[in-house]
Assembly symmetry: D2
Homo-oligomer: 133 residues x 4
């Protein structure tokens, strides 16, 4: 399952150099992952019920081009590798108008038990979705 989320660049994401600050790309990717979860039917409420959460273990991001206020960005999110308690998401960002690549990233997500904060197996229904991707 591959999702795309379109977002406008907001002025509050622009830094003193006039373009989107490097830290904001991670915000965009977080929104993209949450959109993926929602479309996968894994809501935040379901995760609270199961008492699980997700933490990020690693992010490896290449910054490819600068983004400017008012541009529309497309965040593409798809699972890349699935393990027992973790999986990798591939998240690429493009400019909607030109198709120009903005960034390429791999995000390693670990499922944790909210009480112990230790890793816990990926919920079965999500694992099926991830593996069929």
């Amino acid at each position: 399952m591959k999702t795309t989320l379109e977002i406008p660049v907001r002025s509050t994401e622009i830094d003193f150099l006039g373009h989107v600050n490097n830290t904001k790309y991670l915000d965009y990717m977080q929104w993209g992952r949450e959109d993926w979860y929602t479309q996968a039917g894994l809501t935040f409420e379901m995760m609270l019920e199961k008492n699980i959460g997700t933490v990020i273990a690693n992010i490896n991001i290449d910054y490819l081009s600068a983004c400017y206020m008012g541009e529309i960005l497309v965040i593409k999110t798809e699972p890349a590798e699935v393990g027992n308690t973790s999986f990798k998401m591939r998240q690429d960002i493009f400019k909607k108008d030109s198709g120009q690549e903005v960034s390429k990233a791999t995000v390693t997500v670990v499922f944790i038990d909210m009480d112990t904060e230790k890793s816990t197996p990926i919920p079965a229904e999500l694992k099926t979705l991830l593996s069929n991707s």
Copy 2:
């Protein structure tokens, strides 16, 4: 040259799961790099005069432990590899009290000409500093 910057975790950096959001580690590292530049004598004003800026080409960060409101974090910043137009910074974050490792990251920084937004050689005075590290 290796610098350390101490910062308190602020409530505005805590997410709905109760710990510092993954995106905020990049803010912390940006502050750490700026502190490094300042201690290296490379001020923002000097860079404006030379009409150069820095952009991030890659960040590879391992998230090792969760951080909570009020904790004091120590951001360690040191150059790792120096090229012609770019260099790598190694940035590790620790908890001040326990010494627990919070994150380990390598940040690839490219110098750019502010007009062309193309890469430009590292200023000589900075290159000396970086290479002696």
Copy 3:
């Protein structure tokens, strides 16, 4: 001229208490004002050409209800009072689904000369738009 901007509440806007942090309402209102300017035909580029910018002199905001992740908010923006170098915007936020009022605010905006950072008359074309509202 009255504009409405719809935005989804993002996870990165939620604080440790589980709802949108008070500071984020000001981000939302800034996006609403920028949307108003854009629809009024006053682009950021035009303002740069004229060498003018806007600064906020006062914000008075009533927080009326909490907002949660995934809710769609509607930001209503309209001019309230027009002076020589400043004007007031009325900005109210509602929940799209329920119509519930989220916040009511008055924002006083001053036009400044970007070189002197002193107040400067509202551009004539904008003043007409504001006064006809």
Copy 4:
């Protein structure tokens, strides 16, 4: 009880116009209030135990001068008026070096029961502190 909190302006708080964005002043004030609570002995943990939280009902802020990267700001926080379930904080920000006033604000804080999200009386130990101010 009057507290002062010193903070450096961080690059991530600077907007595309080159100064601290208007929304960030509210972050600064939130940090100042939390520091006040901590110095008043009212920790977040105690509030969780009592199952109470605070929400902001109103913020009225005058923006008096622009702030720039690297400046040290002093946030002064003191109670102004104490009611049954709410109180007002006066929060002024100054530049440390010049003493220049940056902003003046009144923040109305309401105590809420975390389950019902309705207003609840100010904890007795805090009310004493507030009233003696």
